[in-house]
Symmetry: C2
Subunit: 457 residues, 2 copies
């Protein structure tokens, strides 16, 4: 049975194959769930990489298990060549590692013993991201069974460190650049909203995280001496205060490279549903910054560069009063970035700014950076996914121009679309993680249709 | 033998008595050191109060052991009436409690087994403040033996909580105001400088200590949401920044009640020795605030109101990066005060200021206050002490107009002079605390001479 909304004749055979292979696909998902692969501890990572590589080989891929050594999880790579359309390549990027299963006593069935009930498959990684690892690879079979070919070249890059911040992904991509070359990338992710609309995510913010240190005396002193000895806590507070005025970052040149949203992106942001009272209830707050609402909220989440104090510490932080002059004060600050801001440029601007404002002594203890990513909704892959969803779901997807958070999406030079996710009360990262089986297979059809449209565009 | 510098015939007999009673006095000091009296733990406090009260009775006083109960240490009170001059009363204020002796392994001889060696008496409390407790009481005998009277009425108030911030002194003084009435107060304290000059301390700064709290969401959140949710750490930083500009506190009216130094006080500050490089070496710093030096340093320590961040804490304070939006931020702030600033007035000004600056939501979690004290160097007791020192030491004392720190001196309505201390490498609060026996008895002669001159003025 093809998807009930399907009207594309060329895809009917593929949809039928996806449905026909359902049990086989679910069995493979269970098999891979049974193999723990916890990046945080390393448990089962190598075994899982071997398992995934084997599945790729069975599907007929040329595979490589890339390994940087030195504690890095292997990255499993495989590719399939299209006979009819070898000029175009789509890369599927997913991860085979999972979050630790703790707390174990909250699981209704053991995390690594997958179980189906009520239309859902329970187990650690069921949703995030082992079903995708298996399901997207399974599209090779579905296309081949239906059309004796795949619509373009497929590449699969499955990393094993997503849950620990994709620690070595950049190194893998720098060491094996040719393997990651593609015309478009299909990413994991996305949810199904209460009205059954799927989500397409086209970008993520960047981040620059720094720790600032102001220091003076070699030890904390009695605070009576503050009459004559400079207080690094005051110095830090003053320096911080030069970074931001109201909601605007005041470091010269900070916004120079900010790419404005296009009219189309703004329209998409406007259309995005969001539940303000859910946010407020969740956080226990009465209003958002400056009482902002609606479009402004959505636009800020997708595209406002931020400067956030994530941590502050100085002097005495226990109960009650202690009259100390602190020897040092520290602030951890997270700058969220948007395209085309570059952390390597911004760290220099931050340093220059502190110097010019009279704080050359404030040390930047470390800094970590990731750029933002933003695929155009007019890119071929995004347009194909948009059309393909109408066909599969009977409605267009909710398009998220950018996540509020950051990620490694920026590492890919080609357009990236995160589609086909089945997230819905899925408890990713939590006990009783589960996969909604119906929405998962529907998502696979969306991806198949997207690739089909994209390959023929 | 009278002091070698003495030229006052009327005092020769008293000095002779002090010297004659030296062994007896030292034995009593040892006896009281043998009785531990640790305010922090309560160990031996009551036993020591009884011992001190007994010594007062033996000396012929009417004594009272005041006890507020409820965990307060008793306050031992005694008075002696002058036959010839019952119109004037001097109060000796000291304390019989001591700091805990730990770390014990660093003591060369056990802390509660006093031992004389190299002209010093070793033991916990030898310097701070048990020798004074015994020695000042002993002046009754010295005057009586030499003159058959005391030069004015003597009162002794010996508290048992000095080492824990004189926790109940204010309550004792409010409950028994008549006992603390005097024309002048002789306080503990003071050191002997490297050139053999004694110190007279005439004041202390006040303090107002507050904790500020800014809060928003009910838990820490993922920092990506900072684009739309207010960050209490930023709020606190901004609020703090309104409290002070450079070295000036910007809360309206903060300096309204500041009593300027008199010309004489400024002269005394100018004359005060101080060792800038010792301060810098001790703290490991290259310069003081704004490169200040000399007179400005001494004046700031004695009389600059300060606003010191003693503690800051918010969000993630561990190693490395964690992208959180903190739910709250706290600052502990110590305002040092000068005469005639009043913490009860200033807390209102702080609250008003925060409100006017747009921070009505920032909570003041608690506040503690003590006023400053400053006895005029032109007061009779200070002038008497100044003259008396010339007689005993052959030179005037170093007059410290005010300590940089705070204390309960302000509770006394009459002029207070802290004189006669023998501190010199004395290791108060530390292992191997000791009393310099020579300077201690010289200090007693200074006090005796001071009272003699004061009584006859």
């Amino acid at each position: 049975m093809p998807s009930r909304y399907s009207s594309s004749n060329s895809m009917i055979g593929v949809y039928e194959a996806i449905d026909r292979n359902k049990t086989k696909t679910l069995e493979k998902i269970k098999e891979i769930i049974r193999q723990p692969s916890i990046a945080a501890t390393g448990l089962g990572i190598r075994e899982c990489a071997t398992l995934v590589s084997g599945m790729m080989q069975v599907a007929g891929a040329s595979t490589r298990v890339l390994d940087l050594g030195d504690g890095a999880s292997p990255l499993v790579y495989g590719d399939f060549r299209s006979k009819s359309n070898p000029e175009k390549t789509v890369l599927f990027f997913n991860h085979y590692d999972v979050q630790p299963p703790e707390p174990l006593d909250l699981w209704e069935t053991p995390p690594f013993e997958p179980q189906e009930r009520d239309g859902k498959l329970f187990g650690r990684g069921a949703n995030d991201d082992k079903a995708d690892v298996v399901g997207r690879l399974g599209l090779v079979d579905a296309f081949t069974e239906a059309t004796n070919d795949i619509p373009c070249n497929f590449k699969f890059a499955y990393e094993g460190e997503e849950e620990i911040g994709s620690a070595h992904l950049k190194s893998y991509m720098e060491k094996f650049p040719e393997l990651f070359k593609a015309d478009a990338v299909i990413w994991e992710g996305g949810a199904i909203d209460p009205k059954g609309r799927p989500e397409m995510l086209l970008g993520s913010k960047g981040i620059m995280y720094v720790e600032l240190l102001a220091k003076n005396a070699k030890t904390d002193s009695h605070s009576s001496i503050a009459a004559i000895v400079e207080n690094p806590a005051w110095r830090l507070v003053r320096a911080l205060n030069t970074l931001k005025k109201d909601e605007r970052i005041t470091i010269p040149g900070w916004y120079d490279d900010v790419r404005p949203f296009t009219k189309k992106e703004l329209d998409l942001i406007r259309k995005q549903p969001y539940d303000e009272s859910a946010i407020k209830n969740d956080l226990g707050i009465k209003q958002l910054i400056g009482g902002m609402r609606g479009f402004e909220v959505k636009k800020s989440l997708a595209g406002k560069p931020t400067c956030t104090i994530c941590g502050l510490v100085s002097g005495y932080t226990g109960q009650g009063a202690k009259a100390v002059l602190p020897k040092e004060a520290r602030a951890k600050i997270d700058f969220r970035l948007v395209p085309d801001q570059d952390p390597e440029d911004l760290i220099v601007k931050l340093r220059m700014h502190l110097k010019k404002q009279g704080f050359p002594d404030i040390e930047i203890l470390f800094s970590e950076g990731e750029k933002a990513a933003r695929t155009s909704p007019d890119s071929e892959i995004a347009r194909a996914a948009n059309e393909a969803a109408k066909d599969v779901y009977g409605k267009p997807p909710i398009v998220k121009v950018s996540a509020a958070g950051s990620g490694p999406m920026y590492l890919f030079k080609s357009p990236v679309a995160a589609i086909g996710g089945a997230g819905r009360f899925s408890r990713a990262h939590a006990p009783n993680e589960n996969l909604d089986i119906h929405w998962f297979f529907t998502g696979l059809k969306w991806i198949a249709n997207t690739i089909n449209l994209y390959s023929n565009s």
